[in-house]
Symmetry: C4
Subunit: 315 residues, 4 copies
Amino acid sequence: MKNLRQRTALLLEGNGEYRQIGHIIDIFLITLIMVNVIAIVLESVVTLAHHYKQAFLILEIGSVSIFAVEYLLRFWSCVDRVEYKSLECSDFKRRLKYLISPLAIIDLLAILPTLLMMFITFDLRFLRVFRLLRIFKLTRYSRAMQLLLQSFREESGSLIAAFFIMAVVLILASCGIYLIEHDVQPDKFGSIPAAMWWAMATLTTVGYGDVVPVTPLGRIFGGVITLLSMGMVAIPTGLLASSFSEQLRKRRVLFCDAVHECLHDGKLDDDQLEHLEHLRCKLGLSKQEANKAIKSQLSARTKNLYCRHCGERQD
Amino acid sequence: MKNLRQRTALLLEGNGEYRQIGHIIDIFLITLIMVNVIAIVLESVVTLAHHYKQAFLILEIGSVSIFAVEYLLRFWSCVDRVEYKSLECSDFKRRLKYLISPLAIIDLLAILPTLLMMFITFDLRFLRVFRLLRIFKLTRYSRAMQLLLQSFREESGSLIAAFFIMAVVLILASCGIYLIEHDVQPDKFGSIPAAMWWAMATLTTVGYGDVVPVTPLGRIFGGVITLLSMGMVAIPTGLLASSFSEQLRKRRVLFCDAVHECLHDGKLDDDQLEHLEHLRCKLGLSKQEANKAIKSQLSARTKNLYCRHCGERQD
Amino acid sequence: MKNLRQRTALLLEGNGEYRQIGHIIDIFLITLIMVNVIAIVLESVVTLAHHYKQAFLILEIGSVSIFAVEYLLRFWSCVDRVEYKSLECSDFKRRLKYLISPLAIIDLLAILPTLLMMFITFDLRFLRVFRLLRIFKLTRYSRAMQLLLQSFREESGSLIAAFFIMAVVLILASCGIYLIEHDVQPDKFGSIPAAMWWAMATLTTVGYGDVVPVTPLGRIFGGVITLLSMGMVAIPTGLLASSFSEQLRKRRVLFCDAVHECLHDGKLDDDQLEHLEHLRCKLGLSKQEANKAIKSQLSARTKNLYCRHCGERQD
Amino acid sequence: MKNLRQRTALLLEGNGEYRQIGHIIDIFLITLIMVNVIAIVLESVVTLAHHYKQAFLILEIGSVSIFAVEYLLRFWSCVDRVEYKSLECSDFKRRLKYLISPLAIIDLLAILPTLLMMFITFDLRFLRVFRLLRIFKLTRYSRAMQLLLQSFREESGSLIAAFFIMAVVLILASCGIYLIEHDVQPDKFGSIPAAMWWAMATLTTVGYGDVVPVTPLGRIFGGVITLLSMGMVAIPTGLLASSFSEQLRKRRVLFCDAVHECLHDGKLDDDQLEHLEHLRCKLGLSKQEANKAIKSQLSARTKNLYCRHCGERQD
């Protein structure tokens, strides 16, 4: 028999017998976060802020209350969560560990600005905008985004190198255009940092056009930089493209390995099938692909199972 | 012996003995749709609309009549189509099922605005533009586009995640530039939604340049956002690139599997060759590639299965 | 013993014993074409055209004479070229076949405008610019470009589909912005074709900024279109990226097949090594990669060469 | 026992027992280079240059002294470095070889402008900017960047071909827009080189918008060029994406080969493990991937080599 705290933990994680109701709570919270973000964005429009002052206030107080209750419930029940239960330490340490986990900090940031605004009164607008940080609460719910972020993390070395190349080209481009256009347009290319605005807009192919070289030499130099911009854009794109391909391959291999392991005794029972289905969802593979992997592993087993010479099983 | 309805169904699908004449009908309809779209676009130019009023009207009436006839014929003969024939339900249900299929709805949308314009008379121009929806009738004819759209569908999870990351960065960027430039350019960055126009143009590297930050801090922040824009553009591109690669691989594997299956008895008869040729077209593989796959599967079977000298199986 | 025509053919193709001298002629012609293109571009600057009139004229006459001689020599010797020699038809037909080959047409286009200018006198400037077409003469010399163009050709189906999607989005975008901004900016969004200029610049992320929506609704719609632009740019990029990967793989496979075939008798003689080296260059593989392929095929042979059961060679 | 010069070489290379202290020196130098670059960029702002004249001067003198000492130490100790030790030539030749190595030239360029400024007095500002070249000193420290640059080098053939296609399209685009818009906007499209500025900004999707076609024909032509720009951007991106994928694959294969070789005697000793770990770092593979490769190679050896029951070899 589970106590209230354990049930709360299961409910908030959406595991076990509370999967359905946990799913509903998730959807409610996701909707609330989105409504909040839209409201905060619209509140910055002066006329809207004036007309619907009451509505915005009620929404804000209501949302923050719900988020606060969610935060407290999560904090209270965190010691019963699967990943903290297995830690061998006191409940206090577990709670502390939870408090400094990224998701808990995001949850805190979602309610902190409003709490501060209630007690401190000096600069309201500045804090108001920080309420937008509650958009990060959505990260909890998107698996595909976590996979995307993982790609970024795995390619971080290459991306930093790409960023470094970008920085070098950026500095040399600003320096070059500063030397060439400095005297003709002192208001636009008056210093290297000022010239960087042009170089940045050009190298990323944004190209605002508010600052452009006008001398023939500046335009030739600018033309070379626009050509380089294609390379600059190509590097991160290429890195991510190859990283995504790599991840797809890795996930397929991971799934095949899992199938291989499950097939150790030559057949798949229901538990193993459910486990594989769960893994399939987690890795984002299509059903068709998964079936193919299982089938090919099965046929591979029946073919290579016995020694060609003595007929004995090989494992 | 086939009756008229069955023949109409075959004609409109371009299958069986009517492949050639069905192909001609297809080309006629594609041309008609394109001419229609070009006419509607040109009709929005006031001078042209004035000069060639008669011609546009005749083209419109003629086209809509043809499309209406096509729609009625398709509706009438749909119960004899291959995919609906195999459904175990009454003809009425089949017709209903056809009516709510995407292609039937597109066909209806192609004629509806003009039909409405004949009976309702209040806002003509608005409806006139909706006639452009008949461009979607072209989806029926492009296999490569269907394959492209399939890529989008398969990557939909990741693309939505990418879109979500984009939305978060967009909101934070607009919010940041709003805080920084709000006081200096109240007409351009007067609210977060207004600042989003700049953020959107920057993060997608469109960079109109009609709204740009002017303060040093705003330009530093803007520079950071232009850098982020490269990442924003790289994510969908990378996802699609890896998805297209994956699809190419999958199609190749599918074809090899089909060849493997056909070769179960050690040889290919004419039926199987036609089946493989059909599959090759459907999967969009080159002839060279297909021949290679067949050859390698053939040689794998004949070469490695038995020792040529002692007749023992080799695997 | 070869006659003069055969030697000319070998010289112009750079084959056989004339490889070295043919290479020098190639470099001379490439340089001449480039100098020509630069000269034609610079000649459009009025002051330069005035000052260096004499020099431009001499260069033009000299170049055209050389190109004309080259064209005549190629035409004269074409019947002795390897690819035309093997055709079973009369010399006249071979010459005709050569005349309508793309490279011969390009060679003709390179000299035609100047020849016309000598005899016809009405609009000189128009023809002058067409002399730039001689830049296409360079296609003869670049293998990497031919490989690139092959990628385009192989993906042509998908690229046309991408282009078609682009066209549909373009028409819907122009139509939408025309409906929204037509009344506010009649000079910029006065008709759908006029609105296409904005839609084209936005969907390709060029973003000139000379025409932008100004109404709130127009900016929301414009924002959606900028988001779509990322997808539009991602499709061709993704297609080409996956196509290039595919080509790399195919070339590797082609090379491995060639190695496999050469190793039929279990060893590589000098002729085969030269043949493989030639193929390696043609396919643009690195030396390291080629060596690896050869080594792995060699070891595969020695391992699987004999039947496990009777010890006899397997092929 | 090592002498001072040998120790200096080890220290500067960060090898052997000086790995830790060498690492600290590296970090100090990297920081110094970055501070220098930032200072030079900020010095171009007139007000800052005026206010902090003293600080900039001290930083410059201090940095150049340190870089000069580093340069001299490297030059002195270069004959004891691993890669020069193995050369069979006199110390003088080794030093000469070091002097003309790219990294030594970069080190020299980092101190040369300031040294020149001390002795020559005519144009200070010009030389001052060249001090920025010391940013290239950072190349020594980034392995990921060296891998990126290798990708560029390996794809150089294709990239040059892409660049050539770009040049052809660029010239034809400028020529076309020159013909069309020359008479209407003589100040912007007065000559082909002037028209190139627009063509360059359009084909790279930068799209400044300072120069745009205004005639209907010019806009239609411009629209076609914007469409081509997507292809232009797609080529280098696709090339790099496929090149990065290829490199990932090659590195994986290289590592697997190394594991295979190490496992020749059926087990891994400590030396081999360290060797593999070193290789893993050099190739930038993840630990997880490396372990997988080792495990699969191990199991391939032990599982399939002999039948567990009858002891017969299986391949």
